[in-house]
Structure formats: C-alpha cells, structure tokens
Symmetry: C2
Subunit: 261 residues, 2 copies
DNA sequence: CCATCTTTGTGCACGCGTTCACAAAGACAT
DNA sequence: ATGTCTTTGTGAACGCGTGCACAAAGATGG
C-alpha cells in the first residue's frame, strides 16, 4: 500500500486505535457489497475473509466502536454500515479541492471513489492560466489565485495536492493558511504542517521501491543463485569517503551510484 | 498514506524490519536531493529533519543496513545513496507492466517517478481493443490477450493494476500465473494471492475516509459549534438491538451511545 | 425449560517498533 | 599527545497492535 502517514503519533483518537480506523473503510466496503446483495447478517469470520483480515482482529476492532453483534448469529449488515459510516464521518458531506490538474490530478478528479462516499469535488485548482475555465471531469478548473477564496466560500477542509514536488509545500502552506486541516499529498515530498493538520501521503515511487526490495530478496533466496554478498563490507571506508563509488554493482543490472531525484 | 500491506507478517526480511524498509525510500530521496546540491556529509539530525522522522529512528534504521557513519561527522551522502539504492534493489532494472489504461493508468504511465529510479515501464496493457496500438505517454498500448506473452518475454516481475475493481482479481490471477511476484494495486478491492507474492495497495478512497475520521473528530472538539446532528439513527435494530441511538454525544465531540467497555 | 450449538467479546501474552539516554568513537584544536 | 566537542550506534524500557483461546451470550431445537 501506498501508505504514508504523518499523524499525531501518540494521539489515539477517542480511544479508537489508529490501526483500527485504517481498517474501518475496508470493512465498510465489504459490508456495502453485502448490503447490495441484501445479505442481512454476517459472522466475523465471513466478513473478515472478505476484508482480508483476521476474524479476531475484526471483532476487536468492532468492539472499539461499541457496535454490538449478536452471539450465535453475527452482525447486522445495515446497522454496521451505518455505524461505521457515522464513525468515519461519512454521513456528512465533505467538499474536497484538488490542486494541480495534470495527468494525475485529472485522473483523481474523474475517480469514482471520490463522489461515492460523502466526498464531493468542490473545485479543481491549477496554476496554469491556460487551464483556467477548462472543464475536467465536468468541473471547470479555477486559477490558483483564487485558492483562498474557494476554500473559504465552500468551507473546504480537505485538500488534495497533485502538483509537482517543487511547489507542493507552497501549495500546502496556502491551503493550511486558508483553513484546510486535512491534506492528501500525492507529491513526492515531505510536507511540514502545523499541529492540528493531518497529512497522509500516497507515493507511487516509494511503493515500488518497497516492492523492489522484496523482489530482490526473493531473487537472492533462490537456491541456484548465491545470496547477496553485500554484508561483506562493500569496500569504501566510511569516514574519509571520497566516493568514487565508481563501478561496482550487483551481478545483474547496474545503475549509477547517484540516482536522479 | 495510502499504504496497504499484505506482507508476510512475521518475516523480517534478512533482519531488516519492514518498517525500516518502508522508510529507506524516504531517506534515499532526501539524500539524493543533498547529493545534487553536492553536500558531502549529513548528520542524522539534519537528514532526519529532511525526511521527516526522528533522528534516533534514522540511526537505528541505518544500523540495520550496516552502513557506517562517522562519529563526530555524520554520514557520507554519496556512500549512503549507493548503499540504500543497492539494499532496495534499485541498482538493477525493474521492468513494470501497467494493466488498465484508463485515466489513472495513463497518469501512472506518464508519471516521472517510475522511470527515475530503476523502474521502466515495459508495457501498457488494456482490455479495450480500441486502445490497442494507441500510444500513451509514448508507449503503445497492447491488448490484454497478450498479457502472458509480454510478461514472459520481458521477464516482468512487478505489475501495476489500475483496472476497475470488478476485474482486478482476474487480472491479478493472470499476472501471477504469468510469473509476476509483486503487485501494486490501485483497484479498490482486496486481492488474494498465493504465498510468495507481495501485494501493496494504494487506495484513494480509504485515505480520504481516514482523513474524514480525523476531520470529524477535530470538528467535534470545537467548543463553539455543536457536533453534527446528522442523520437520525438509521433505525434498524440488529437482532434485538434496543439501544436507542437517539440523542447521544457529550458537550464536545459526539460519541456513539455505545462505547467500548 | 433445558440442552446444545454457534459466535461474539475480551483477557492475556507476545513481538515489533519507537524513543530515550548514554557510552564509545572519532574529529579537531592546542 | 591530550583534551574537548560532536555525533554515532545501541542497550533498555515502553507502548501499540496482533492473535490465541476461552468464557459468556444468545439462538435454536426438543
């Protein structure tokens, strides 16, 4: 997953563990599917399987919510859907602004997942004057000069940043100054925000790198191939490093020591 | 973050904790930036600030790598960049296929983050015959009938799924059967894969819902405004629910009538 | 009304991850 | 050389999250 967090680490929100909160949307999705099939109740076992988690974990998660199931029967689907929706704050409307309408921003604007659950794309904002007024996914793009005004008028508290990394922090600062208190960041940068503002990041590149790590490990474990000989100091003394990382590399494809950003 | 994991839970890969692996790309990015500015060394304090983490955590992370810094001085930037790149497997070339070239798939194809670090878009695959041959981000889209052939020929081990949720599992199964062992899933579904296959998921909707949860909590904490008196209880007592969800909530944020024990 | 069977809710233990705090290592100046 | 100063590397404590295993709750059938 592309999970990045920058949460108040120790603040267990109202007794509900952060890990549980992160799973609630998963349960909700599974429950919604069941609801559409008019299934009246589910056992923790079934629902857990559908959500891809352990049933004991699921029961414990629900216990934090106070949602009660019925022993010997399971959970009432409709009731749980409502309870979780309410807990997540999805019973109200959340206007969202997307800043940076490039390829990604446009894709996000058209993403069905937004509209589906309480989230409404209130505005699309881009710094390029050529984009202004142009409709994307049916919504006209507005110029970033009006950012503050847009946020204020629509009472937007959630912002999505899909700009190039270089301007992400500046955009973030403006959003926060204008009143946004939750940010979903797609730009490959670490954003710094004042206390009270939540930032979650989605980073393509990081996810791929994590996969690559495991992939490499799998390859190295193969019986035929010798495990990475790395451990044996790669040469190059630390202190007086003059670099000249010149040319060493694994047995397979190599890459320059210094990689692009 | 949009992090979803489906990792071998207990398998601490070669002694490097999963949490550390997830941070390495972050360090790498910060280090690369320093490298471009020709900064020769950094202290754990500085680098930690740049990566947005605690310096003690950073030092411990590096200690797992065996990368040595120099006491009193710090870490050699170039050396670390190389070490981390190698550890993450970025010193080799990773061909990647993207399946599902809709808005999102197209955006991903054009995303710079892919090409920048050892990842190469080997192929774009879509089930729509109308897309076949059409170039997206400079790469011609291929039909999904040829999926197996493409994977085999290019030796692809990483696949990105950007299809609608409905077909994600089917696509996933085909990818895995064809030899892919790492999957980055953008479709809002839980994928089930055999052991040995890593899946990471990026889920827009889930990230937003998590933000909404915290946002709601912040709003509820406000002294002035009363918490949203949203939807009147959805009714629907489960089995024999008698809990009148009626009027709950304290003076501050509201809380479901039924709370955890 | 009682017995049986199913499924929840949770006490408990364990392991991972985070953080503190400090000794050791080295740079640098004298 | 010796002393001082900076910064690393890590032992140890703590807290969160996970999963087991079981008692309690309730449904169901006789």
């Amino acid at each position: 997953m592309a999970t990045g967090r920058t949460h108040r680490p120790a603040t267990r929100s109202r007794g509900i563990p952060e890990a549980t909160v992160a799973r609630l949307p998963l349960y909700l999705r599974a429950l919604t599917a069941l609801s559409e099939r008019s299934v009246p109740t589910v056992s923790s076992e079934e629902l857990a399987a559908a959500a891809g988690v352990n049933s004991a974990k699921l029961r414990k998660d629900f216990s934090y919510l106070g949602s009660y199931g019925t022993r010997g029967v399971g959970y009432d689907v409709e009731y749980l859907v409502y309870q979780i929706s309410r807990e997540l704050g999805l019973t109200q409307d959340w206007p969202v602004v997307i800043v940076g309408i490039g390829n990604l921003g446009a894709a996000l604007a058209g993403y069905g997942g937004f509209a589906s659950r309480g989230f409404r794309v209130a505005a699309l904002i881009d710094a390029d004057p050529a984009m202004t007024g142009k409709p994307v996914a049916g919504i006209p793009v507005q110029h970033s000069d009006d950012l503050e005004k847009i946020i204020a008028e629509d009472g937007v508290s959630i912002g999505v940043i899909a700009t190039p990394a270089g301007v992400a922090q500046a955009v973030c600062d403006r959003l926060v100054a204008a009143g946004v208190t939750s940010i979903l960041n797609f730009a490959p940068t670490v954003l710094s925000v004042p206390d009270g503002v939540d930032v979650r990041k989605v980073d393509l590149s990081i996810e791929l790198q994590i996969l690559a790590f495991h992939e490499q490990r799998k390859a190295g474990e193969e019986p035929g191939e010798d495990a990475a000989p790395q451990a044996a100091a790669p040469a190059a003394p630390p202190a007086a490093r003059t670099t000249a990382q010149g040319g060493r590399k694994g047995p397979d494809g190599d890459v320059p020591a210094v990689m692009p950003a």
